[in-house]
């Protein structure tokens, strides 16, 4: 993922206010600013998306330092291997693009990604046992728990299932 400062510099280059010549007509200036406004608006959404993923990446990395019994019920902290798998999954989500609402430690020993979309929710958990869990649920009906292996192909399948359920 490109870092935010690189993107900020790119936007500055796209916005040559200082170089605006006096020869430009009023209508050309008008068009120029309209165009710049469109660029900035789309760029800021992109930046927002970027910032959100960077925050998620940082919070995910911090889970590796949780102590044993972090939840006071003797749960294991996510292992380094689990955090690495979860970081790899986060990058797949970034490319998808599918934005998790929250990333938290799971009491089962692992990392949980939560997705909230109106009345429909979902989570994926990467367990220290190597297990990948996906659950799709709302506030009323029976939850859906598809059978998944921890293979790369099933991570992609999990993203497809998430996308279609939350759409």
């Amino acid at each position: 993922m490109p870092c935010v400062s690189e993107l900020t510099n790119q936007i500055r280059d796209l916005n040559p206010i200082g170089g605006l010549g006096s020869a430009l007509s009023v209508s050309k200036e008008d068009d120029f600013f309209r165009q710049q406004f469109r660029i900035m608006r789309s760029s800021s959404k992109f930046l927002e998306h970027q910032c959100h993923f960077e925050l998620l990446e940082r919070s995910l990395a911090s889970l590796a330092s949780l102590p044993q019994g972090w939840d006071s019920y003797d749960s294991q902290p996510p292992s380094a291997t689990t955090v690495c798998s979860a970081l790899s999954f986060l990058r797949k989500l970034y490319s998808a693009p599918l934005v998790p609402s929250s990333i938290v430690p799971s009491a089962e020993g692992g990392v949980a990604f939560y997705f909230f979309s109106g009345k429909r929710n979902a989570y994926t958990e990467f367990r220290n046992s190597g297990e990948l869990v996906l659950a799709l649920y709302d506030h009323e009906t029976e939850p859906i728990v598809p059978e998944l292996s921890s293979s790369d192909a099933d991570e992609i399948r999990a993203i497809e299932l998430l996308r279609s359920y939350l759409a």
Binding site: G69, S101, A107, E108, Y123, V133, A135, H139, P143, V145
Partner: protein
């Protein structure tokens, strides 16, 4: 999930300690109206929803209200000496009659969840949720398959409500 007003953590920390076992035997019967209390982390409560990530298998721990105040679950005597009367921790509750049970497995089998009084020396109210395959006759815990575990976690998160809200830990923000 609903939130209710609560005492401040300072007031809670000065209340009387939890009931100790002191030789008392377990009380097997749970009334449907009895409440079960459990502590939670603020991180596991997002957009008004408790996350299923706050539960793990097997034998989820609770305090039964017959012998416990809600705040007892944050007292060091009920959490292995840890002092949790501080930001970041809150207390959940649910009625015994609201426990999601039975939960059906994908193969058509069924798993029953029920509370079991499991007193600890300094926390007489300590109880656990036990899972039994409804075809099993042995008095042992039956570890359920994945679909049942996840369904149970999701349904538990639905039925638990906040008794003492967790204030987000400022140090973590």
């Amino acid at each position: 999930m609903k939130s209710e007003p609560s005492n401040s953590s300072e007031a809670i920390s000065h209340s009387s300690p939890p009931i100790h076992q002191d030789g008392k035997t377990p009380v097997e019967q749970f009334a449907g109206e009895e409440l079960l209390y459990r502590r939670y982390l603020s991180e596991h409560f997002v957009d008004g929803n408790l996350l299923p990530a706050s539960f793990r298998f097997p034998k989820q721990s609770f305090n039964r209200s017959l012998f416990s105040k809600p705040e007892d679950v944050l007292h060091p005597h009920c959490c292995d000496g840890m002092a949790l009367f501080k930001d970041g921790w809150g207390v959940l509750e649910c009625r015994v009659s609201a426990l999601p049970s039975p939960v059906k497995a994908a193969d058509g089998g069924s798993f029953v969840f029920s509370p079991k009084h499991a007193p600890e020396a300094t926390c007489y109210a300590h109880s656990e949720l036990w899972c039994k395959n409804d075809l099993s006759v042995a008095n042992e815990y039956d570890y359920p398959p994945k679909s049942v575990r996840e369904t149970f976690r999701i349904k538990m998160a639905r039925v638990m409500s906040v008794r003492i809200p967790a204030v987000p830990n400022q140090e973590k923000k």
